[in-house]
Symmetry: C2
Subunit: 321 residues, 2 copies
């Protein structure tokens, strides 16, 4: 069973400018919740530990997870703080977001609870949102260290952005500390840039750039401790690498037939990858399944896609290879 540890929230999306926006579309989500839901639809046993507000939005999030058969017995309900909200401005000129952080930031687990939730878990998936505040980070590391002691693998979604952190700057020390324990890491190019910066002597113009930069980022993440790294690059596909094997990076082409909306692609990639790992495919093969799921999701608007039907398709396609 995979344990997801991170934020549950709702997005309020507008296509207007934040300074005057009036029309918002609400979508429930939170990356760990989306991945858990997708993975569960593919038949991967999943459980989520998070915290939502005692309000209709929190209820909706939990119900949606429950419907997808995610184990929600460890989702906490906060009577003091509301469900976390992310306001998203999807304008072409200046895409932007801001967070009204609520319940998920106040997740609390006693030593006993940590021991209990780790029972029967083979992978703990951690989101960057659990690193943003000191107390939350310390609890996360407690979970991570206990998990590693038990031989449980750690997955890390390094979706770090300055404004998620209490001090408005990515706390790189915390990110690097978690990387030391990380088995599976799936940064996007944007994540890699946010954490490691842009390598010097590189211009973004040539294709050369991308390949060198990918190699640079993958190597850096390996150096930090991550054993399996897959760097996703949108339409450019993904680049997978296993530490110590030969420093080779395998390109995994994007498989989308048509891209309608990229929302949920990264979460779908994770879910497909987990399907592969849980079913004992090797890492590169698991990443290919990830690319398949991502390619399926981008054909729909939003991340509220039921991918149950994809399960048979995956097995058919892998069978062919």
């Amino acid at each position: 069973m995979i344990l997801f540890f991170g934020e549950l929230l709702a997005d309020l999306i507008t296509q207007e400018d934040f300074t005057s926006a009036e029309h918002f579309t609400l979508k429930v989500g939170g990356s760990p919740g989306n991945i858990a839901r997708f993975a569960s639809q593919l038949g991967v046993p999943t459980k989520i530990v998070s915290r939502v507000g005692n309000d209709p939005i929190g209820n909706r999030i939990v119900k949606k997870l429950e419907q997808a058969k995610v184990d929600i017995s460890s989702v906490q309900i906060d009577n003091k703080y509301g469900t976390t909200l992310v306001f998203v401005q999807k304008t072409v000129e200046s895409p932007d977001f801001f967070v009204i952080r609520g319940a998920d930031r106040f997740l609390r687990l006693s030593e006993d609870e940590i021991d209990k939730i780790l029972d029967g878990i083979s992978i703990v998936h951690v989101s960057c949102w659990t690193l943003t505040h000191k107390d939350l980070y310390e609890m996360t590391m407690k979970v991570v260290r206990k998990a590693v002691e038990r031989g449980i693998s750690i997955s890390f979604d390094p979706n770090c952005r300055d404004k998620l952190f209490e001090c408005s700057k990515i706390e790189r020390d915390r990110v690097f500390e978690l990387l030391r324990y990380t088995t599976y890491l799936k940064p996007s190019l944007d994540d890699a840039m946010a954490i490691l910066g842009t390598p010097s002597n590189e211009s973004r113009e040539s294709n050369e750039f991308t390949e060198n930069v990918v190699k640079y980022y993958v190597e850096q993440f390996h150096k930090c401790g991550a054993k399996y790294v897959v760097l996703t690059a949108g339409r450019g596909g993904a680049f997978a690498s296993v530490f110590d094997e030969s420093k080779s990076v395998t390109h995994i082409p994007a498989v989308a037939e048509r891209v309608v909306d990229a929302t949920g692609a990264g979460d779908g990639f994770w879910a497909g990858m987990y399907y592969g790992l849980i079913n004992k495919y090797d890492f590169i093969e698991a990443c290919k399944i990830g690319a398949m799921v991502a390619g399926y999701i981008v054909q729909f608007v939003g991340a509220d896609v039921d991918i149950s039907a994809l399960k048979g398709e995956i097995e058919k396609q892998i069978g062919k290879r």
Copy 2:
């Protein structure tokens, strides 16, 4: 100058059911902010003390107040908590709301700051939102007592609802404590019912009921300490009463020519009343001006109405009387 002490927030309004609502309209507001803005547009000098999040919504609220020439020098910006949000479900079947309480709940003022903000103030307007949490209530009472010591009048908008309070129940002790110091009280029939309950031996059927109930509520509020009470009853107009004068209640008819949207009516009533009081009209006359402003605002959708033009009209109409 009138000092407004209470919540600044944004409403997210939907006409769908909360359990599945996707489309929301964002309107910036918060009753004390709306009243300050309306009163300022009528030429009443106003100042607001509140707290918003350091986010685009908080910025918008503050900017709107500034544009209406409200003194915003005492509005605090919170770097930790986001701007308070109220989700409103405007469906015919089950109108409802819930609050994701943020920055306004964390308003903090030192003794020195309280002394300073009371300089030059003739009325302090307090909203029920400042009573919802123990620490906030205690600070509010400190402001109220200091104000009364200086001979400043207290206005109280008793817009109490169970779910605003930390313990999910109106803290009546706090409401009654504040009523002891209250000069001007403007409850709606709903507010009166929420605080005092429904009087026994009354049925809602007859007109008799309304009159008796109004008298009962007005008397109760006077007994609690409020000197001037005006109970608003929507299309039924308002009922104004001065303590000790003769126990008589003056009916003030609603003056709306056509009602498009009642949003902002109560806030407009307050603003008109303040225009009257600041310009030395007696209480009953001030309430009539309140009814005029309310009647003007209900002709428009929402509370984002510029009522500057109404100023000349008020003077013309009062001149006729």
